[in-house]
């Protein structure tokens, strides 16, 4: 399990095993606090800064991963 998925699990307060590319963010309270926490998590895990507004528009974990890949 990657540190990134573990971090997301902590933010969403769910089991790490439940986190995968197809996880629907809206099902897990994807609010401004979660977005900000994820910004920091991405920075910590990948040393990369994604745009807050673009991150907020993500629908699934795979969208976040695509943003990171493009950054």
């Amino acid at each position: 399990m990657s540190a990134f998925y573990e971090g997301l699990a902590e933010i969403f307060e769910i089991e790490p095993a439940a986190v995968g590319p197809s996880l629907v963010l809206a099902d897990h309270n994807w609010d401004s606090l979660a977005v900000v926490s994820t910004l920091a998590l991405v920075d910590e895990c990948f040393n990369c800064l994604v745009e807050g507004a673009a991150l907020a528009r993500c629908e699934r974990v795979s969208d976040i991963e695509a943003l990171i890949a493009a950054a």
């Binding site: 606090l33 900000v36 920091a40 920075d43 910590e44 807050g52 507004a53 991150l55």
Partner: protein
């Protein structure tokens, strides 16, 4: 002397020799609010969610009628007494605040009168918040390089007066405080280093649109019906800005001074938000040297850096030399860092006002 020197000539920023920090006093209002005070309006769950992120457990708020200049005045009175400074010996007073007394005159002039300073003393306001304390020190150092001998930097804010009590993004975050810092010419003092910057593209993300002379335009991100004279903050955008700007600011300042992070005893960051501070402390690579006191005082805007100096670092600052990096960032967007090798201070304390 200001300008380039051999060590960091290629790095951005400035060095100013001959400037010494002499003392710092912070002043807190007497009314202390715990998080329970917000539960009735915002609900227990929202309060718990926000507190988990911002880390504020209590904060001090002014009573009606008490202003940032009152807090700074109390701090300045204590500072002048502790250092035995004759008011007539002060050449400049800089008031740094976004919560001034009146739209005119400059609150610095009012404070000049209350403190009984001399007619040769220049006094002016600087309208910056989170970065403001560093700008105040930068201006003080520059005035000293230009010939002033003693400069008083009074930095304080009462953001409690401009938050919308039903806006969970800001209602719990802010505390009120004032401060006074004495800066003096000292020919033998080592250079202080400064790096400063601005990104005006972020202006709308932390803003009180009303109260000035431009008609506030509608921003769809603002909660419906929010008073234009209340503070709006897009927390996500501000946080993203901080992650972009602050680690680079710290690195640029070290580079300008020709130092590594190990050669700084304490990184005093503007107390913006606990989650953010912890993250920045990790990025700087020295979490044990980044004091955090936002749990006790909230985000006190321009007073947050002096409030760390007079609480968390006070005993050390009066006892021994401390290599300090002071880092302010936020509303504007505006940022600045100052690196001082501080001799033991004559005074570092917090008073009630």
């Amino acid at each position: 002397m200001t300008g380039a020197d051999a060590v960091g000539a290629a790095a951005p920023g400035f060095s100013v020799a001959g400037v010494r920090l002499l003392g710092v006093v912070s002043a807190l209002p007497r009314r202390r609010l715990e998080n329970e005070a917000f539960v009735e309006r915002l609900g227990a769950e929202a309060v718990a969610d926000v507190v988990k992120m911002i880390g504020v457990e209590s904060r001090y708020w002014v009573e009606d009628g008490q202003t940032a200049s009152d807090l700074c005045f109390a701090a300045a009175q204590r500072l002048l007494a502790a250092l035995d400074w004759d008011p007539a010996s002060i050449d400049a007073l800089i008031f740094v605040s976004q919560t001034f007394d009146q739209r005119l005159p400059a609150t610095a002039c009012v404070l000049h009168g209350r403190l009984g300073l001399a007619s040769h003393c220049q006094a002016f306001d600087v309208g910056l918040g989170c970065s403001g304390y560093v700008y105040g020190l930068w201006l003080a150092a520059s005035l000293i390089a230009a010939g002033c001998r003693r400069v008083l930097v009074l930095a304080g804010d009462t953001i409690s007066r401009v938050v919308d009590p039903s806006d969970r993004a800001t209602a719990l975050l802010f505390g009120d405080a004032g401060s006074a810092t004495a800066v003096e010419h000292a020919a033998e003092a080592p250079p202080a280093y400064f790096v400063l910057g601005t990104d005006g593209a972020g202006a709308a993300n932390l803003i009180i649109p009303g109260g000035g002379f431009r008609q506030a335009s509608h921003d769809p991100r603002r909660p419906a019906g929010m008073d234009p004279e209340h503070l709006f903050m897009d927390g996500g955008e501000v946080f993203a800005f901080t992650l972009r700007a602050v680690p680079k600011l710290v690195q640029d300042t070290l580079k300008r001074a020709g130092r590594s992070a190990d050669q700084v005893d304490s990184f005093v960051l503007h107390q913006a938000n606990q989650f953010m501070l912890r993250h920045l402390a990790k990025k700087i690579g020295a979490p044990e040297r980044v004091p955090i006191n936002i749990d006790r005082f909230g985000n006190t805007s321009s007073a947050s850096i002096p409030l760390v100096l007079t609480n968390d670092l006070a005993a050390r600052l009066v006892a021994e030399p401390v290599r300090l990096m002071l880092v302010g960032f936020g509303v504007g967007y505006s940022w600045g860092a100052a690196l001082f090798d501080a001799d033991p201070l004559g005074c570092a304390e917090t008073v009630s006002a």
